[in-house]
């Protein structure tokens, strides 16, 4: 059991959870994730760790309601218990002083880059965070991002906050100016793929956090296989972060849709479709999934 210490709603359907998990908090590093199961009927679903407080013994998750598990999480309150929580899982992000690092977060991928920004900032990097959402109401964690970045650029689809346009636009300008040493992007797959395509011609190392279907999260099932650099790797133990330029995004997109046909086999069950959405959007995906299809 893991107790929810604090739950707040950050934006419509997007919630912040501070969870009591002393052992996870003591060992977690930026880039890692947890797998949780809400109750005894629940699915095992991964979520990126958005913040770590080893002193309080807590971790933060930011969860957007996209399917059954996340909707159940959305209905939980401070003081409630999550049945099972396992972590930290996966390889920590590579943290060094790279120089200038541009971080891109889409939707609630912003939560995932928050902890990364913090670690990179502490390691002495100049951190530029480009965060985007569909509109002003859906933008989360702007203040928190400012606290851990040297510069924050806000983008929105409709211009209701920050600049109007895609997160890749300011990135391209910076690449042209030749001031970028490393790029990390977390968000919907099309957004991460687009970031990789933008940086490729410049040869700037670009890291993305992949979100395939997972079951155990410990290397036992192979459900999380991804093709990177022509090799099959397990995202839960070899990742979840990989080089965007080496990642087979087409395959990843197919694989995240794996459970959608279940809905076609049983048209009466809309829960199956929701299920497929949970599966396809973990551990971090954005409200702006559709708008970011490039």
């Amino acid at each position: 059991m893991a107790k929810i210490l604090v739950k707040e709603t950050l934006a419509p359907n997007t919630h912040y959870f501070r969870i009591d998990a002393p052992l996870v908090a003591r060992h977690a590093k930026a880039g890692q994730f947890v797998i949780l199961r809400v109750d005894e009927l629940g699915e095992r679903v991964p979520f990126t760790i958005a913040d770590i407080d080893p002193v309080e013994g807590s971790i933060t998750l930011v969860i957007q309601e996209v399917g059954e598990t996340t909707r159940q999480m959305g209905a939980m309150k401070s003081g409630d218990d999550i049945r099972d929580l396992l972590g930290p899982l996966g390889m920590p992000s590579e943290i060094e002083n790279f120089g200038t690092v541009v971080l891109l977060g889409g939707g609630f991928g912003i939560a995932a880059i928050h902890v990364l920004a913090k670690a990179l900032h502490e390691a002495g990097n100049r951190v530029v965070s480009i965060i985007g959402s569909r509109n002003k109401d859906l933008l989360i964690m702007e203040k928190e991002m400012r606290a851990v970045s040297d510069e924050v650029i806000v983008m929105s689809d409709d211009g209701s906050i920050g600049r109007q346009g895609l997160v890749t636009e300011p990135l391209k300008e910076m690449l042209d100016a030749g001031t970028v040493d490393r790029v990390c992007a977390v968000g919907p797959i099309p957004m991460m793929r687009a970031v990789g395509e933008v940086t490729r011609p410049y040869g700037v190392k670009t890291i993305v956090s992949l979100n395939p279907v997972m079951v155990d999260g410990t290397g036992m099932c192979g459900g999380c296989r991804v093709e990177v650099g022509g090799k099959t790797l397990f995202a839960c133990v070899d990742g979840p972060e990989f080089d965007a330029h080496e990642t087979n995004f087409k395959e990843l997109i197919h694989r995240t849709r794996m459970f959608r046909p279940m809905e076609q086999r049983d048209p009466d069950s809309c829960r199956m479709l929701q299920q497929a959405d949970v599966v396809s959007q973990k551990p971090a995906a954005g409200a702006d999934h559709e708008s970011r299809e490039s």
């Binding site: 099972d84 972590g87 155990d216 099932c221 197919h254 299920q275």
Partner: protein
């Protein structure tokens, strides 16, 4: 009864549920002996002076001893005999490959059929389950020592039980949300009812063993931290849980998964009850299971029960070389699983949007025996053919997970990541850290894992007393 009378009795076969009925449900297939049959089968044992069966048993159960008790009708006496060396008889009686162990060398089997030792073991274990009183807390004097066990498969559970009996305070750390290892997530309900495994875990809890679930050692906590936190010794039993793939084209198509994934979704996450249980499992209408071991049979038989049109076993050698237990092969065939032996997939073919639609296969023929003593399959030139499938379950074996190796300084491994152990004690290269079960690279059976767990418990007891 004299020996020649005993030898005249025909072997009693274990009754099984009707194949048609069972192919549609998850009820246990093998029904087990009743008292009368058990006693009649026990009469077949000639009580050898030098019981070869015991040499064939990895934990040297006093087989003639317990069988004699059965024939005398003293079932509690029989279970007591077994329990001196085997703490999980209701599990072993169901999943041990007796035909390669005790029954293979049984003297009665030299001329006719061997004594049905496995079925008799299961009979007494079930008798105990039905009638025994709840297990009481261990009455031994606490040693004041803490021992950590990593992994709750048969090796970990066995070690925990013995260590608790020796008075040590045991905590079992398990990554999953439920204890039991392969017994829970791998071996299906119809072969090993989960209630049996849960009862064993409950017994251990009653004995004072603590279970720290949702704890991945190496990530949630490290071995170094455990040793610093007053654990006098650690037993590593993480299994060899990483599934292998063939690395052939198309293996990442949708509809292709490992047997571990398929079985975990169905057994542990109960996906057969989707959507009430929230974990889905994908299964089409034409299923190919690649492999010939127990895992392959379990996957094929589980798939069969979920109602597809066709379930194939695709195996590159012939039926004789299959590592699966004979009984499982026969049960699978009876349930309507079709066997394509001497056949190996060479690639998978899929749709534009990434779904598998067919597998390209090659016929094989057997040549000289290889290192494993089995005849090596070689491709037959020009024998390629295509098999239409919409689901492929890959069950070609497992390899070690190197997490503990990477997160534990001083731990050493041999080829393929199996931990280097002192043969006599089971201690790893790291003092105070012992290991056993599949991670030690032995037989990869439940009973071998249990034997390791028992041996390690004895060594750990000596080690912590000396410290």
């Amino acid at each position: 009864m004299n020996v020649s009378e005993r030898l005249k009795i025909q072997r009693h076969e274990v009754p099984a549920l009707d194949a048609h009925h069972r192919a549609q449900c998850f009820e246990e297939v093998a029904v087990g002996f009743d008292e009368k049959t058990a006693r009649a089968e026990a009469d077949r044992c000639i009580q050898c002076k030098r019981p070869l069966c015991m040499e064939g048993c990895p934990v040297s159960i006093d087989i003639p001893g317990f069988i004699r008790k059965i024939s005398e009708g003293d079932f509690p006496g029989a279970i007591e005999r077994i329990r001196t060396t085997n703490s999980l008889p209701s599990i072993c009686g169901r999943v041990c490959p007796q035909e390669n162990q005790c029954e293979r060398v049984c003297v009665v089997g030299k001329k006719g059929e061997p004594v049905a030792i496995g079925a008799l073991e299961r009979f007494v274990a079930d008798f105990e389950r039905r009638y025994s009183l709840p297990v009481e807390g261990v009455k031994v004097k606490p040693s004041g020592r803490k021992v950590a066990v990593v992994g709750s498969g048969p090796a970990g559970l066995t070690a925990a039980g013995h260590l608790a009996q020796l008075g040590h305070a045991v905590t079992v750390f398990e990554a999953f949300h439920e204890a039991g290892g392969v017994l829970i997530y791998g071996i299906p309900e119809f072969r090993l009812p989960k209630a049996i495994v849960q009862e064993e875990v409950t017994k251990l809890r009653t004995m004072g063993v603590e279970f720290a679930l949702n704890t991945l050692v190496g990530r949630t906590i490290t071995i170094d931290e455990l040793l610093a936190d007053n654990y006098s010794a650690v037993f590593l039993a993480p299994g060899a849980g990483t599934p292998m793939f063939m690395n052939i084209p198309g293996e990442n198509l949708n509809g292709v998964c490992s047997a571990n994934e398929f079985l975990t979704r169905v057994n542990l996450m109960k996906a057969f009850d989707f959507p009430r249980q929230q974990t889905p499992v994908y299964l089409g209408q034409r299923i190919a299971v690649v492999g010939g071991g127990n895992t392959a049979m379990d996957a094929a038989r589980t798939a069969r029960r979920m109602g597809p049109d066709k379930v194939y076993i695709v195996y590159r050698r012939s039926e004789n070389e299959m590592p699966a237990r004979r009984e499982e092969v026969h049960h699978a065939q009876e349930e309507g699983v079709e066997f394509l032996t001497l056949t190996a997939p060479t690639q998978y073919i899929g749709t534009e949007d990434g779904w598998v639609t067919a597998m390209e296969c090659q016929r094989m023929e057997l040549s000289e025996p290889d290192a494993s003593g089995r005849r090596r399959p070689v491709p037959v030139v020009g024998s390629e053919f295509t098999l239409e499938v919409d689901t492929v379950i890959v069950a070609i074996g497992a390899k070690t997970n190197d997490l503990l190796l990477h997160t534990t300084p001083g731990l050493e491994a041999e080829r393929k990541g199996y931990l280097t152990l002192d043969k006599a004690t089971g201690m790893t290269s790291r003092p105070g850290v012992f290991a056993g079960g599949d991670i030690a690279g032995g037989e990869a059976t439940v009973i071998a894992a249990m034997g390791d767990g028992r041996r390690a418990a004895i060594s750990i007891d000596e080690y912590v007393k000396e410290k």
